[in-house]
Symmetry: C3
Subunit: 209 residues, 3 copies
């Protein structure tokens, strides 16, 4: 399997997982069918579209490549049609989501480097790819984004993007430079969920809103 194909497959798997999280959240907020499709698509592709706009990859792949839209629509319709089944799948969905998080961070950093951007841009846009869709989902649902409030989520994506950039700089093989960061992100997510790790908070209005 060549490098490009591998990355494309990773990208679609992450798209599916993220679209399910978007569709589930939209359905819970009682959006209509269009709203569910739109939030699923934006959750899945919003981060990648922001990345592509920032590196000048015009038009963004999330808009131009029918496979992203198709994948997001299938995930959204599955959430609508088989909601009870999807609800029971909390654990597998969390697995998918953690995998998607690492995949997107690595793919985003990789694509930024390919466009000629420096390491800082690659790490930041890896994170944008990974958490941008979730931020857009929460902004459209008029709530403070979960990933800014708790859990080791964005920071796991940051670690994955940084390791991927480091790997490319050190000339690791594609296999290592791709899968090691994804595994790191996945492990950070699951260890932090298992042991309820959180980043520190310092809020002076704790519980106020």
């Amino acid at each position: 399997m060549n490098e490009q194909l591998l990355f494309n497959l990773l990208d679609l798997a992450g798209t599916f997982a993220f679209a399910i999280s978007g569709a589930t959240a939209a359905r819970r907020r009682d959006l209509d069918l269009f709203g569910i499709l739109a939030i699923a698509y934006i959750t899945a592709c919003g981060g990648g579209i922001a990345r592509d706009v920032c590196i000048g990859a015009i038009p963004p792949a999330g808009l131009a490549d029918w496979r992203y839209l198709f994948t997001a629509v299938v995930a959204a319709l599955a959430t609508v049609v088989a909601y009870r089944q999807v609800e029971r799948l909390t654990y597998p969905v969390r697995l998918f989501d953690a995998m998607g998080l690492g995949l997107f961070a690595v793919y985003g950093a990789h694509k930024a480097l390919l466009s000629g951007a420096n390491a800082e841009v690659a790490i930041l846009l890896g994170m944008v790819t990974a958490i941008g869709g979730g931020l857009a989902r929460d902004v459209l649902l008029a709530r403070v984004p979960i990933v800014l409030q708790r859990e080791i989520y964005a920071s796991a994506a940051c670690a994955a993007a940084a390791l991927a950039v480091l790997g490319e700089r050190l000339g690791w093989s594609v296999l290592w430079a791709t899968w090691l960061p994804i595994l790191l992100c996945f492990a950070l997510r699951f260890v932090s969920l298992r042991y309820r790790w959180n980043l520190p908070r310092f809020g002076s209005e704790r519980g106020a809103d």
Copy 2:
């Protein structure tokens, strides 16, 4: 009347209608004069600016062409100065809005195709042009966007953009490829309002927030 002039006129008419909806919503939320002008402008031009950024039309026409800003400012000032009159105009404003919706979807899809984008990009960016400003308005007013919650609105824009792209692909004359989709969008809006059509919803928290 040549093709370019026709599209420019359509675009300004839509701009005016959308700016009124933005200014009205901003005034209801008690924003100050700058806030009303800003929301009116963003509602009118936000979708087009996002479209232009995604197709690489730099700087975006919504920023560079003084007629858009001028039209939005006039609409906002009219809403401020003659609010009672504007409030009484619910029905004509809704007419304008439905017309603007179709116009923007068609114009957005058309401009994307002209930039060399494929049919999927054109349909998605047609929708972005049509509903992007309204999404930005609602996000800035800290509420879940109306178009994701109910009514045949975004889906009417989607139908118009898709028909416009189909028309261009099938080689329809500009007249047909422009006005038929706008008419379709307009008809969908009004029939759905008249008969209270909505897309299905599946919310598990109905009435919860």
Copy 3:
């Protein structure tokens, strides 16, 4: 001191002031460490990134230049580590913020003109540079942006950007075309705070939300 260096220094000073306002707001809303860093960075660099995307300066300087990220992270950490001290500094922070507002407006307008954009684009993007980060901060904190609701803030940025563009058009020296608008913005902010000037409001739901 040459022109480019002067602008770079101005830009970093503004970045620091804005990052403090973002970090303070994020900490008050009880976001975690990543959330505080992210909001500080977005408040400081969000406006500039939007400006660069709109003029095609790819990748945006806010992402590519490590000094912006570094400055924002230092400001955020200072807010976390020395919050009591920062809280006592309301007055100096307001000074910084008013200076940053003018600096960003002038720098944004200047960079847009350098990219070949017209006067309208330069004024609008000067404002986007100055208030875009604050808008993004408030949107991510799920509240209606303060600058759209009250105080002479966005309008002071608008005046500064317009004066900067006028100065460049009239061939003023860099010193005048830079510092006069910044001084104007600063003076407008402080006179309006001192005398509690506000733009008019017309809300029909005053006090309703």
